[in-house]
């Protein structure tokens, strides 16, 4: 049964559609593999067997009745713990929401289920998406399948580890400042952060609303097109969603004439040697495939990390105000006054990094500091958007590494927030500009940890990224490498 677990989502859907596999059999195979491997990985917080087998049976019943099946028929999908499903727990990796059961289902998940997907469980994450290693989960860290004493990246580290270890055929994550792309790089899989607004955020537990995007992981870039096709489009429940674009990238079958912009600020200084060497080699391959390399500059990326952390924490301080012990989760009792109850509940329920970011965001928004910090950050964000707009007059896509370093040992950075924030230096620029970005494997370190390279395209050109990634895959085998079982 291991073969089915290593198949692409498209292959699995095809097998189920043709009746060569039942959706229930596929689901059983993935649960058996997860039962065997996840105890050492901790990618999942919960395997939702009952709901998964019910969904699989619906697909099988549809087929038995001769009804057409969806494009994701029987495809087992792991879901980050910050996307809600009606009646099931979604905790966002937080003790505060440990028992929270949603009264509704996230639009993206509903659309995946409508396409025939089988959602098999919720995956571990940094609490509320705040972290780059999944060590900030209230429920313990996830381990990187390539080396168990290393982090998988974050914040969607559980989803990245699950897809890397073949515990699911697609994995859903969310990306606020790199939380899909960075763990994709560290786990050797492909991860897509779509254009802001292409996928509804309704039912995504908010971290920073102007940055949050639902994204996904796959072993095969083509599977991400299935994800995007199923989930994209306007949702009345999210006013920032945009219609499906009309631009079509399917005509591109090779890389000849593709202008690849290489911003020096994100490609040279400060990178780990192995990362620099791998992305340099990848660029040579791309050149050999006919792409044109255009050297350029994105000067405002020098401010990207402070800009991101001030915008994100300011929005987080506001978004997380709702966890006050009144409407959700556990209440810390023993006090007779409402405000004291709220402070006691929040202090007991939030982890240390979440509290640090709430305090930083509160600082950035407080009287006397707001214009100097939050105000400057949103002005710097405009400068960054302008830099990208200028760059895209000279090139079709941008290229640089996803993370300056490969996966690092668990515990090695967790006590130094600034060092952890720097892990996001190469992913936050596209987030701030709302642009689609994709990470795909491009090599390994000398001690065999995966390295990812990142593509960024103009807004609404997500499909171009997927085409480029698929073409690169046709000529390389980095994406076919697997961690030892």
């Amino acid at each position: 049964m291991s073969t089915i677990c290593q198949s692409s989502a498209a292959t699995i859907a095809g097998l189920v559609q043709k009746g060569e596999y039942s959706a229930r059999a596929v689901t059983e195979a993935f649960f058996a593999r997860a039962d065997r491997l996840d105890p050492s990985l901790h990618a999942f917080l919960e395997l939702q067997r009952e709901a998964a087998f019910a969904a699989a049976s619906r697909v099988d019943d549809q087929r038995a009745r001769g009804e057409p099946l969806g494009p994701l028929a029987g495809v087992p999908i792991a879901v980050k713990d910050n996307l809600v499903r009606r009646g099931l727990v979604a905790s966002a990796g937080s003790r505060l929401l440990e028992t929270y059961r949603s009264p509704f289902t996230a639009t993206a998940l509903r659309r995946l289920e409508d396409a025939g997907a089988v959602l098999i469980g919720r995956t571990n994450m940094d609490e509320f998406g705040m972290g780059s290693s999944t060590e900030n989960s209230a429920f313990g860290p996830t381990h990187n399948p390539w080396r168990l004493d290393h982090v998988p990246g974050g914040s969607s580290g559980g989803s990245a580890a699950a897809i890397a270890a073949d515990l699911c055929a697609l994995a859903i994550g969310s990306d606020t400042g790199g939380s899909v792309r960075q763990p994709a790089a560290m786990c050797g899989v492909t991860g897509l952060k779509p254009t802001y607004g292409r996928i509804s955020r309704s039912g995504l537990i908010a971290y920073a609303s102007s940055l949050d995007c639902v994204g996904a992981f796959a072993r095969d870039a083509a599977d991400l097109q299935l994800f995007l096709d199923a989930t994209t489009g306007v949702d009345p429940a999210d006013a920032t969603t945009v219609p499906k674009p009309t631009n079509d990238a399917t005509a591109r079958t090779d890389l000849r004439g593709l202008r690849i912009g290489v911003p020096w600020e994100l490609n040279g200084p400060g990178l780990d040697d192995d990362v620099a060497n791998a992305t340099t080699s990848a660029l040579e391959v791309l050149r050999e495939l006919g792409a044109e390399i255009v050297e350029l500059s994105l000067p405002s990326t020098a401010h990207a990390v402070p800009t991101y952390y001030l915008v994100a924490t300011a929005e987080a301080a506001s978004n997380l105000a709702r966890y006050d012990g009144v409407r959700y989760g556990a209440r810390r009792t023993g006090t007779q006054r409402c405000e004291a109850m709220m402070a006691a509940t929040r202090s007991a329920g939030f982890g240390a990094e979440v509290q640090l970011r709430i305090l930083l965001g509160t600082f950035a928004l407080s009287i006397g500091y707001q214009d100097e910090y939050y105000g400057q950050a949103i002005r710097a964000r405009e400068l960054l958007k302008n830099d990208f707009a200028t760059a895209f007059t000279k090139c079709d896509v941008l290229f640089h590494p996803t993370s300056p370093v490969a996966a690092f040992p668990i515990g090695s950075r967790i006590d130094d927030p600034l060092a952890m924030y720097l892990c996001d230096a190469l992913t936050v620029p596209a987030s701030l500009a709302g642009l689609p970005a994709l990470s795909q494997p491009c090599g390994f370190t000398t001690d065999r940890l995966p390295i990812g390279m990142q593509w960024t395209a103009p807004a609404m050109h997500d499909e171009l990224l997927l085409r480029i990634a698929a073409i690169y895959q046709r000529h390389t085998d980095h994406h076919l490498q697997r961690p030892a079982p």
């Binding site: 009345p236 994100l266 001030l310 409402c338 600034l418």
Partner: protein, 148 residues
């Protein structure tokens, strides 16, 4: 203070010619935080005079905690103060953006399409209240807010 930079690399093969020239140009993204820790960073491009980063002291920490409805126990205050001070100092270069400041970007979506207002049935009250720690008569119950 602990270092926050990554090891400089030897990424100086042909495709990164521009990167090699970087030292004479603007700051690379990865160096910005570390450089911003150095006094006088990018003085020549300051939009306004360099300001001393605000001191994050215990009274300010207490004020922020009160605003955020957090209780910071005394044994955690020193570590929080240290982290906040380092972060705010590292982010201080942002206060020196080049002139003129452009309009702010608060959301990346320029114009989301408008739709007709349509009344939709709300979520059932019982469903919404199901996660409440305490409820009565279709309402959330909280401890006393005002004095009797």
């Amino acid at each position: 203070m602990r270092g926050v930079t990554f090891q400089a690399s030897g990424a100086s093969t042909g495709v990164f010619r521009a990167a090699r020239r970087g030292g004479a140009r603007d700051q690379p993204a990865l160096a910005s935080l570390d450089m911003s820790l150095a006094p006088g960073f990018r003085l020549s491009r300051m939009r306004r005079p360099v300001m001393t980063p605000p001191s994050i002291d215990r009274p300010l920490l207490q004020k922020l905690a009160d605003l955020a409805r957090l209780h910071v126990p005394s044994d955690r205050q020193a570590a929080l103060l240290q982290n906040l001070t380092r972060i705010v100092a590292a982010f201080d270069a942002l206060r020196a953006l080049p002139t003129p400041p452009p309009r702010p970007t608060e959301t990346p979506t320029a114009a989301a399409p408008l739709r007709e207002d349509q009344a939709e049935p709300p979520l059932p009250t019982d469903d919404v209240l199901a996660n409440a720690p305490q409820r009565a008569g279709g309402m959330f119950v909280v401890p006393r807010v005002v004095d009797a």
